[in-house]
Amino acid sequence: MLNIRCPYCEEDRPEIEFRNAGEAHIARPDEPDRVDDRQWADFLYTRDNPKGWHAERWRHVHGCGRFFNAVRHSVDDRILLTYKAGEPKPDIERMLREREA
């Protein structure tokens, strides 16, 4: 069971208040007619599925109802940070270096 901070409500809440919505920062092709089937399949189905840090979407369904993103480690489940939808993907390596320094 995760404890997740909603960046809108600015509260730590138990996982059961949230729904996970998969890998974050996957943009829908701007002009769907111009991408081929390979690119379309990549958009729909291909995922990094990393053993390590993962930027992912969450929705605070039993709270404010809004989507946001989290960076979580897929092996030890540690959440590095959560941030609002629309904000750029953080530079995870740099954040980790700064934390250690």
Partner: protein, 416 residues
Amino acid sequence: MRYHIGNLLRGSLSGQTGWPAQWRDPAPKPSYEAIVVGAGGHGLATAYYLASRYGVNRVAVLEKGWLGGGNTGRNTTIVRSNYLWQESQGIYEHAMKLWQDLSHELNYNVMYSARGVLTLAHSVHDIQIVKRHVHANRLSGIDNEWLTPAQTKEFCPPLNISPSLRYPVLGASLQRRGGTARHDAVAWGFARAADRLGVDIIQNCEVTAIRRGPDGAVTGVETTRGAIAAPKIGVVAAGHTSHVMAMADVRMPLESYTLQALVSEPVKPVLPCVVMSNGVHAYISQSDKGELVIGSGTDQYLSYAQTGALHISTHTLEAISDLFPAFRRMRMLRNWGGIVDVTVDRSPIVGLTPVPGLFVNCGWGTGGFKATPGSGEVFAATIAKGVPHPIAAPFSMERFRTGRLIDEAAAAGVAH
């Protein structure tokens, strides 16, 4: 050593001492004809059929931990073939036929027990879906039948069919050839039989890189026990497939999740069959040791942590307590998780990859144990011949580009 009545009797009279090891513990050789990555049931079956049916004997199976320590040793062992689509029926029924004679073929008791699998319906929608499966199966010559609530109760006496349940039992399908098999014995039986045919099973040997030649084709792997060369590599790494395939720059249509199971304290025989309910998310049978073996759901987020959240198993136990009031006060002894590799259509990927010489068998997700012998057999044929076995052909990675998905997810409402 072949097991037969003579040496089994001698064994029981001599306190089961003096049995030789069931397989060797070889050091990796510099090169092989083919390397299988992952010594789960599917990888071991692949190696066994490569050597026994397809004439490829110089095979190594590389395993980062111990053989059968992945999902093969963590699953709830339900075996059935009553899937909706013809492509799925092809591969799962191929496995079902192999289960019938597997103990004999491997000279090893895999404890396949055709005790029958009930799939419960709890709503009008469930009834329609379950009956659709029954009809689709029968059209393909696969046994599956519809039972009324009273018939279901007769087949499974401890089941609660009271209409006042939150999710009442409105009927069920029954596949009589369905049942269970002993998961460890399946891994051990294939390992022993493959080893006898000269296959090297190398444990504590993690693949860390895939080597490729100037033409892009694979030439071998790097491992924690050194480099090993081979012109053909079959990746059968279940939840870790994306990670291994990334070593050859191939991105997969997979997500890895933790799926949990639990066992109760052992009791006398009480549950004569397998009961599954996709609607309330509960899967239960009783092992020969007497434990109730209970399958639960997946966590909602990608994970390699192999420990699931408690609220997921609680949810399943609530459903089990409703369906089987007699089990309410039983204690659970253990729970655990396995990392399952899930595709969007909940069907596996078996076949070639964009990299020459690299083959993949994955995406079995929450329900691949039942397919172990069939999956190994068609994957071995695919590796040996370099073209997909006809049963495997629809399960290519290309289906995600062409759109020819085999959507068992929509068919079942959930996986399994």
